[in-house]
């Protein structure tokens, strides 16, 4: 069954009150849409152009008020739902994951268990061009990396599209907007940009589900997702813990092992 048929079925049966999916927008781009009526399900599409991680809407009040939500998701979206459950931001009965395979066929995943099992069978490597850029950065010297990031971050305008698009950035009042004290400077100057992205990467370490939405959202084209991708990979390599693997919280920065290995502490 494809997304249109599945959405129609779910809405007609009242299994869900809304389906978060994609429709075609300006200049052919795919954009999020929330279908509430069975007769509108014809608008839904799901193809390689559908990249947004719709799980970010599962924590938003206007969307939650629509009722039980089905979401058409890529593996990163399913990981996001599991991580949100682990962090107690959403509850299993409130969402229904619709995993769409490359042929467009939909699998319903109603429980965390089903989602975990599905993910275990789905390969979802880092996209090739992202991996190529990560590898290129790894091969650079420290000074070259500084030059790279300063060049990129100088374009940042602090629009917070990255933060607003991230399913894991659900805090109603982000710590970086706090002004008593103003810990991270809001202006988009050198320090303001560096500190913001540094804090964001650290707050996502061990929580990033690698959807890449932050990088795609950036209006000035900074590959900001590489910071969180890199940090996530580092956490996985160092501690064996991964975001979005399970609905049971296993957060690297609130846990430890007495024998954690490092090479730099004297």
């Amino acid at each position: 069954m494809d997304v249109n048929e599945k959405a129609k079925q779910l809405l007609e049966a009242g299994t869900v009150q809304a389906v978060a999916g994609f429709q075609t927008g300006t200049r052919g781009v795919r954009r999020p849409v929330f279908i509430r009526r069975a007769e509108d399900t014809g608008r839904l599409v799901f193809d390689p152009g559908c990249r947004h991680n719709l799980a970010q809407y599962a924590t938003r009040t206007p969307v939650k008020r629509l009722g039980r939500l089905a979401l058409t998701l890529r593996p990163s979206g399913i990981r996001a739902l599991l991580q949100l459950m682990a962090e107690r931001q959403i509850q299993e009965p409130d969402v229904l994951a619709l995993a769409v395979d490359p042929d467009g066929q939909v699998t319903e995943l109603a429980t965390a268990e089903a989602m975990e099992a599905h993910l275990a069978l789905t390969a979802d490597p880092v996209p090739a061009d992202d991996q190529a850029l990560l590898d290129r950065l790894d091969r650079m010297t420290r000074a070259e990396r500084w030059g790279f990031w300063q060049n990129e971050l100088s374009r940042c305008i602090k629009c917070y599209a990255c933060r607003s698009s991230c399913p894991m950035c659900y805090c109603g009042q982000c710590t970086m907007d706090c002004n008593r004290p103003q810990w991270v400077p809001p202006p988009s100057h050198g320090l303001g940009n560096l500190e913001y992205h540094m804090v964001r990467a650290m707050h996502l370490a061990g929580r990033c589900v690698r959807c890449g939405d932050c990088g795609r959202a950036c209006p000035v084209g900074i590959p900001i997702h590489l910071l969180t991708f890199h940090t996530e990979a580092a956490v996985q390599a160092q501690f064996g813990q991964r975001a979005g693997a399970s609905a049971k919280l296993d957060y690297a920065l609130s846990t430890f092992r007495p024998d954690d290995q490092e090479t730099f502490i004297r």
Partner: protein
């Protein structure tokens, strides 16, 4: 000009081990460079990673972070959490091009007065050779019209 450069080092240390250890260095009359400004926290677990970034932004040329040895934390597990945090943050800093060679992490206990002196001396000598962290300090002024 570089002969007269004296690095400014900010040290974040825990009250129960390293701070006491540094105190012992003093009472033992062991000399060590005065480039270090010591900031006392109850535990390394309290050290927010942003404190390091702020230290560089304020003109530190180098940073020392030191606390109780694993298994000896006064609060049992603070230093384990700190270690995890440093492993992630140091990796991120290096990825973003921040000079992690300017940051030294160590475990110095209350009895290790000599180790503290040795540590500070070594770090000071190293930083004197590396020069001021102008790259970061220039960033602190960049991007304003």
């Amino acid at each position: 000009m570089t002969d007269t450069f004296e690095p400014k080092i900010t040290a974040f240390v825990c009250n129960w081990c390293t701070y006491a250890g540094a105190d012992l260095t003093g009472t033992s009359r062991i000399k060590y460079p005065s480039n270090v400004r010591v900031l006392r926290l109850p535990c390394t677990g309290r050290i927010d990673f942003m404190l390091l970034a702020k230290a560089f932004a304020r003109g530190a040329d180098g940073i020392i972070i030191s606390g109780c040895h694993p298994n000896d934390c006064h609060y049992t597990s603070g230093n384990y959490h700190a270690r995890r945090r440093w492993m992630v943050y140091r990796n991120l800093m290096d990825f973003m091009g921040i000079d992690t060679a300017r940051i030294t992490f160590s475990w110095v206990s209350a009895a290790e007065g000599a180790k503290w002196a040795e540590l500070v001396s070594e770090v000071t000598t190293k930083l004197r050779a590396m020069g001021p962290y102008t790259e970061y300090q220039e960033l602190a002024l960049a991007g304003v019209e």
